[in-house]
């Protein structure tokens, strides 16, 4: 090295310690985000076409909210790019001008992930809606963000394969990757974390990344760091997902559904634990408490026993299913009966199974119908199975004590449950009460080694728990990652990471509006 180049290197080293410097981007000292000026809108219009850019109030309002209770925070403009190069162009433009970027799929998130709390450009990816590739021999399918999970399964139905992850909504699969969605059959098939093999992601500086390498989707790999799973669950804060390669499964030969009632919560949870310990590969095991069963009966005009209830589903060949069902429900010394389970009903036919599961599928609406006009908030804690029964029972007590209507449903095979807390319009301070209840449930879960969010994500409202859950070092490590990928903090600001000193935003806290 020459003297001159060493001095240059020293200077660069010094500059690298400043948080905002990165190759190719401007250094920002100001704490303001850029505004979307008329010039920027013109640039977007000429790049994407006028039909793919909108500044209309109605469109922006729609894109400023999701299925959570947070009121809309509209972006300044909404764009619909039709290919990844255009996405890259838009993101690059935002990075140059310090304009926030909010990726948008189906808007079915539960934690306010799409709220444009600092304005900016909302990138609606649904015009990229191709099923790019299906490989039956490899059990993979590659999709663009406009493909929803039901659309993919309809596409795949002749192939004998399916993508089993089923969050309530018909969500965009790439959106599901962004929030690491889970569903009722995670106990058998896992969540998005286990089922995304590769993704095409536009990085905050506009570069296009293939997380496992372009076109690769092997069953296993140890080539470098696991970038795929870094982006799964990153909730739009590290880049824009424009394509995902998913792992598929064979459609089960047979499915049998069953339900049974229990005298109390503890026995229902005990049954769950024992079923799992028996090694029975149960496909779904869902818990509804008596408040929820009552709500379901009223809403659906059903007449199930109003008691803690388990909804079970078995997948497999006829032989293996019979074996599973017997072990669980029918033979002497079986799990259900030993725990005081009664009213064991089961169904094989598609139509019968639908009827049996109707109560579980309508749960959200049935719960809301308990207090018409209410705002509903769903908690999402996930705890070790050994602590599940105690956490549910204690939470139930708190909800009753607060005088709030709060039916509970749970993916108990995962240790995850949702208390659907209803803020009734007629009760003063109802929303405050619900918020405090939600916080106390989260804190209880954290205190027993659980997580504040099993499947919905941190989004806007759960950032306050991140440090309690992960510790200061954990959060600091995450900040290092965020800063490395997105030094200008344009990617979905105000989400996931709690506000720090060098962040631009002013620290939004959870607000029911």
């Amino acid at each position: 090295m020459t003297m001159h180049s060493r001095r240059v290197a020293q200077k660069l080293n010094f500059l690298l310690y400043r948080p905002f410097l990165t190759c190719g981007a401007k250094k920002y000292v100001s704490r303001e985000y850029g505004k979307v000026s008329a010039a920027i809108v013109d640039e977007l219009t000429s790049a994407l076409g006028a039909e793919n850019v909108s500044t209309s109030v109605a469109v922006r309002e729609h894109h400023g909210h999701d299925e959570s209770f947070h009121s809309s925070k509209p972006p300044e403009v909404v764009v619909w790019p039709t290919n990844v190069e255009l996405v890259s162009k838009v993101v690059g433009l935002c990075n140059e001008n310090a304009i926030p970027v909010i990726p948008f799929g189906t808007g079915t998130g539960m934690e306010g992930g799409v709220l444009a709390v600092q304005g900016g450009i909302c990138i609606n990816l649904t015009k990229m809606d191709q099923v790019v590739d299906v490989s039956p021999d490899d059990f993979t399918a590659t999709v663009q963000p406009g493909v929803t999970r039901m659309a993919l399964n309809a596409y795949l139905r002749d192939t004998g394969m399916w993508f089993p992850i089923d969050p309530g909504a018909d969500a965009s699969l790439c959106g599901m990757a962004a929030t690491s969605a889970s569903g009722t059959n995670a106990v058998r098939y896992g969540t998005m974390r286990e089922n995304v093999a590769n993704m095409e992601v536009v990085l905050p500086d506009g570069r296009i990344l293939h997380t496992s390498g372009k076109g690769r989707a092997t069953k296993k790999t140890v080539a470098g760091y696991n970038l795929t799973n870094l982006f799964v669950g990153s909730e739009g804060t590290l880049g824009v997902i424009t394509q995902a390669t998913l792992r598929l499964y064979g459609i089960p030969e047979s499915m049998v559904s069953a339900i049974c009632s229990f005298p109390d919560i503890k026995s229902a949870i005990e049954t769950t634990v024992q079923i799992l310990q028996c090694g029975i590969p149960i496909a779904r095991i869902e818990f509804l408490d008596e408040v929820q069963m009552d709500a379901c009966n009223r809403y659906g005009k059903l007449d199930y026993r109003v008691a803690p209830t388990l909804f079970l589903e078995f997948h497999g060949s006829e032989k293996t299913i019979n074996q599973q069902v017997t072990e669980v429900g029918f033979s002497s010394g079986d799990v259900v009966r030993e725990n005081g389970g009664t009213d064991f009903q089961w169904a094989e036919d598609e139509e019968e199974r639908k009827r049996l599961w109707q109560a579980r599928h309508e749960a959200w609406y049935a719960a809301k119908a308990l207090a018409p006009g209410c705002t509903a908030y769903s908690t999402d804690v996930c705890v070790p199975l050994s602590k599940l029964s105690e956490v549910i029972v204690e939470s139930r007590k708190d909800i009753e004590a607060a005088g709030v209507k709060g039916p509970m449903i749970g993916h108990v095979g995962d240790g995850n449950f949702h208390a659907l807390l209803l803020a009734e319009p007629t009760k003063p301070d109802a929303k405050q009460t619900v918020i405090s209840l939600a916080k106390s449930i989260a804190r209880r879960a954290l205190s027993v080694g659980g997580t504040c969010t099993g499947e919905h994500g941190i989004g806007l409202g759960k950032r306050m728990f991140l440090e309690d859950e992960l510790g200061a070092v954990g959060v600091a490590a995450m900040r290092m990652v965020k800063r490395a990928f997105d030094p200008n903090n344009i990617m979905n600001p105000g989400k996931v990471l709690p506000s720090g000193d060098d962040d631009r935003e002013d620290g939004e806290s959870v607000k029911l509006q």
Partner: protein
């Protein structure tokens, strides 16, 4: 449950049409001679899927003894036959019609083919979807019954067998109508008849070994000369934006401009 002698065959013929998949956004070709089919996903007509499902259920209830899936068209039709076989049909028959002639193949031709096949195969029942989702004709079941002089029960939403007859509930404009039809008969399926099963991987594998026979319309003595000529295919007119009228005078002048009033 049906009352069958031990040796009595109850063969069900199921019509299967290969159509553009229901989820696809159909586009008209620039030359307006038809819709774009190249590179577009095709699948078994949903109502025919319901027909196969019903036939398979009849076999599971030991009413039907053999299910034969039939499809008319170019080689790609074998895909829908494979789907039918994977769902539980026993064998398939592919009536080969090359691409150019397939474009003008109409329900009247298909009905003649099904009628001839039913006689050859000694079928006790023919079941097809009520209509194909590409042409929406809703003619094949009815014409086939006429050619065979068999009773017909269309828009079936429930099928039961009692002795030598079928009790069929039909969806009609006024509600539901239940009729008794003597076998052999032609049925067409409506949406609410059943929920078709998915083809599972093991069954798809098994289906590869099932037989698909090939025949030509001429082998059955059926003439598929073109009856109908398509003149033009167009997209529906693009919806025009509405105009907000400020007052009554403006409304009157706009109506006058458009020639709706003098």
């Amino acid at each position: 449950m049906g009352v069958l002698g031990p040796k009595m065959a109850f063969r069900v013929l199921v019509g299967c049409k290969r159509v553009i998949d229901y989820a696809v956004k159909v586009r008209v070709k620039p030359d307006k001679t038809g819709v774009v089919t190249d590179g577009v996903k095709h699948s078994l007509n949903p109502f025919d899927e319901i027909a196969i499902e019903e036939a398979v259920r009849l076999k599971e209830k030991k009413i039907a003894t053999e299910i034969v899936a039939v499809s008319c068209g170019p080689p790609k039709c074998q895909e829908v036959l494979r789907t039918a076989l994977a769902m539980g049909a026993d064998r398939g028959i592919h009536i080969e019609v090359p691409d150019e002639e397939y474009a003008s193949l109409q329900p009247i031709h298909v009905s003649k083919i099904l009628a001839k096949l039913a006689a050859q195969e000694e079928a006790s029942m023919i079941i097809v979807g009520k209509q194909a989702i590409d042409d929406d004709c809703n003619q094949t079941a009815q014409m086939t019954a006429a050619f065979l002089d068999w009773p017909q029960a269309t828009f079936a939403s429930k099928i039961e067998k009692t002795n030598g007859d079928l009790l069929v509930t039909r969806e009609v404009d006024g509600g539901l109508e239940t009729i008794k039809v003597k076998l052999p008969a032609v049925l067409s399926t409506d949406l609410r008849l059943n929920e078709p099963r998915y083809a599972t991987l093991p069954n798809i594998m098994k289906a590869k070994k099932k037989k698909i026979d090939k025949k030509k319309p001429a082998d059955l003595g059926v003439d598929i000369t073109q009856h109908v000529e398509v003149l033009k295919v167009e997209e529906p007119p693009v919806r025009q934006a509405g105009v907000i009228i400020e007052n009554a005078e403006q409304l009157v002048s706009k109506l006058r401009e458009a020639g709706h009033i003098q």
